[in-house]
């Protein structure tokens, strides 16, 4: 077995075990080394490179083809940029978690069967949760636990789906599926949770803004794009995805207008960007899949760049609340320039990466004659300009002077943002080179008069609308507030309804529990007397652990049902 046959990402997960014990600067170098070593496996080419027989089935640990390759490349690139961006951080927690998380996401992309996918799927959840926990404090801890529960639920659904599928087909090979059976719906829903489908999206805007400065940048790259990859492999051409995606492009836009926390604005924006990719996957033609992959690739870079710039502001100023920022162009000019490059990329200005990626999706929709969807996405593009193109840079660096006198971002952050900016412009300027990496060969020219003039009209007149609304005093002011989102259903509604039921249940369980504990104590004391050694008493788990245990129990029941 050649070294390139090993699963990409494996070296990164292994390195994560030693990372905490390596001194600060050397640690970052080791991490970059592990990423480079892992990336070598991308050269293995298309095919099945590492298969492990388990219980009469096969775990396909390294499968590569035209779809895995672009995701493999961009995930490695994002991981390397994160190492540079976080270079100043001396504590090992985020580095360890981040490297293992990126490695797990990369390995997941190369899983050829649903069981291997499940393993890495869950690994991304349990590693990335530390990026939120590292923020410290009760608020971050609670957000982290909610995040973990949702992610684990997605994994449980994936495993249940795999079990049902195994029962139906006798195989857990991960390939194109058609919605219809219980198994495929379970898997679809599992992917949908991680891809932040409408009403399943609460975890994203809840958790991402609570992570650390570096943590949010890491989170923004992998989890949701892994789901995009999985949907592209499993459900390309599923028509349901077209409307789901269109809804995703539209709704978050309104939330982003009124959200005050700028990293949360970017999280809504991330959700909206995923919508574009999901519409393209739903269409499923070669051009559309190329568009989805191109958009995911470009999006990871410019979204990281935007989160990096807001991270730098948070690091220096101590807040990213729009109501408290403004006028930072003076003290953080380079961060401002990089932020604007990210903003222009996501808004799809010609010569920036978003333009050459989004053009593929819009053309694919146009070719299919889906006029309503096309118009929704076109309007959503004006919405993207509103929140990511204008709101983020305007309220941070311009707007009203927030009176902050801070230093420019640390040099390592500037380097990471600079490299990301080069990619944003490079892809925009040389699209043909960029298109080479996409799954299907194609002839496509994004730079013709119609595309460029049409897009510029859309963007410039939308910006003029902003000027008009500001000058007329109609633009809503930034207000410190909480904007309710889909997480409200499980943070407020469910406890309000289920609370009394649970309390009644718990009091019954409590009396039973008392009996159990009493008998356990009797048993233990009896055992102690017999053996003469001290033993641990019964442990009462916390609520998060209880929910997870119940989830796993349900899963076990489903698997028994499926296999039985």
């Amino acid at each position: 077995m050649a070294i390139t046959d090993l699963t990409p990402g494996l070296w990164m997960m292994l390195a994560a075990f030693v990372v905490p014990f390596i001194p600060h600067h050397f640690r970052q170098i080791v991490m970059l080394g592990a990423i480079a070593l892992s990336a070598m496996s991308l050269s293995a080419g298309a095919g099945y490179h590492w298969i492990v027989p388990v219980l009469g089935q096969h775990l396909i640990l390294h499968h590569a083809d035209n779809l895995t390759f672009p995701f493999g490349v961009i995930f490695h690139l994002a991981a390397a940029l994160n190492v540079i961006y976080g270079w100043h951080e001396r504590k090992p927690m985020e580095h360890t978690a981040g490297l293992a998380y990126a490695g797990a996401a990369i390995a997941a992309v190369h899983a050829g069967d649903l069981l291997s996918l499940f393993i890495w799927w869950e690994a991304t959840a349990v590693t990335s949760v530390f990026l939120i926990l590292a923020s410290g404090g009760e608020r971050a801890k609670n957000a982290a636990m909610r995040y973990l529960l949702v992610q684990v639920a997605s994994g449980v659904l994936l495993l249940a789906g795999a079990a049902f599928l195994w029962q139906e087909t006798g195989s857990w090979w991960f390939g194109a599926m058609e919605l219809g059976s219980v198994g495929t719906w379970c898997i679809f829903l599992a992917f949908g949770i991680k891809a932040a489908f409408p009403f399943l999206n609460g975890w994203l805007q809840d958790a991402y803004p609570e992570a650390t400065v570096i943590g949010t940048v890491m989170l923004s790259a992998f989890t949701t794009k892994l789901a995009i990859y999985a949907l592209a492999r499993g459900f390309a051409g599923t028509p349901e995805l077209i409307w789901i995606g269109a809804a995703m492009t539209a709704f978050p836009v309104f939330f982003a207008v009124i959200e005050n926390d700028l990293r949360r604005v970017l999280s809504f924006s991330l959700n909206n960007q995923l919508g574009f990719m999901i519409v393209a996957i739903g269409i499923g033609t070669e051009l559309a899949i190329n568009g989805a992959v191109a958009h995911a690739f470009a999006h990871i870079i410019y979204k990281s760049l935007l989160f990096m710039s807001m991270g730098a502001v948070l690091y220096r100023v101590g807040t990213v609340k729009a109501s408290e920022l403004g006028g930072l162009y003076r003290c953080m000019p380079m961060t401002m320039v990089f932020c604007i490059i990210g903003a222009m990329s996501i808004s799809a200005f010609p010569l920036f990466s978003g333009f050459v990626a989004k053009a593929l999706i819009m053309s694919a929709i146009g070719y299919e004659g889906l006029v309503v969807i096309y118009m929704i996405l076109l309007a959503a593009s004006a919405g993207v300009l509103e929140h990511s193109g204008i709101k983020i840079p305007y309220f941070t660096f311009f707007g009203h002077d927030g009176g902050h006198d801070v230093k420019e971002a640390p040099v390592n952050m500037l380097i990471a943002m600079g490299v990301a900016s080069i990619f944003c412009i490079g892809i925009g300027v040389m699209p043909q080179m960029y298109y080479q990496i996409l799954p299907f060969a194609m002839e496509y020219q994004p730079y013709d008069g119609s595309h460029v003039i049409g897009q510029l009209q859309l963007l410039i007149f939308a910006m003029l609308a902003f000027v008009f609304l500001m000058r007329a005093g109609l633009y809503p002011p930034e207000i410190p507030s909480t904007v309710l989102n889909a997480d409200w259903f499980y943070r407020r509604l469910a406890p309000a309804i289920l609370g009394p039921v649970m309390r009644a249940g718990l009091s019954i369980a409590g009396s039973l529990d008392g009996m159990v504990i009493r008998s356990a104590r009797t048993l233990i004391s009896g055992a102690r007397k017999m053996v003469g050694l001290p033993m641990a008493g019964p442990v009462v788990p916390g609520p998060a652990a209880l929910v997870q245990i119940s989830l796993l129990t349900i899963l076990l029941a489903i698997i028994y049902a499926a296999l039985g």
């Binding site: 608020r139 939330f255 309007a379 311009f398 939308a462």
Partner: protein, 83 residues
């Protein structure tokens, strides 16, 4: 406080310049619309200046939509009580 005033003045100046540049670009794009033949992916887009009107309209709609949404779902910063 002097520093804040200076920055505020400069921000106002920059805003005025930016508005001027955007108006200039807008006029230029209107002129180009009638010089360069433009066609869209859909028939609707072939209407003269369609993207310009659509962009302006969609932006206003998004902002007004946000204002309405704010009335429904905006709560105090400490709504979940974990600040």
């Amino acid at each position: 406080m002097k520093k804040i005033t200076e920055t505020s003045i400069r921000l106002k100046e920059m805003g005025a310049w930016m508005t001027l540049i955007l108006f200039g670009l807008g006029v230029l794009l209107i002129i180009l619309e009638f010089i360069i033949h433009r066609h869209g992916e859909t028939k609707l887009e072939d209407i003269p200046l369609f993207p310009a009107f659509y962009g302006f309209g969609a932006f206003v709609l998004v902002v007004f939509g946000g204002i309405i949404l704010r009335k429904i779902i905006m709560r105090s910063e400490d709504y979940y009580g974990d600040n």
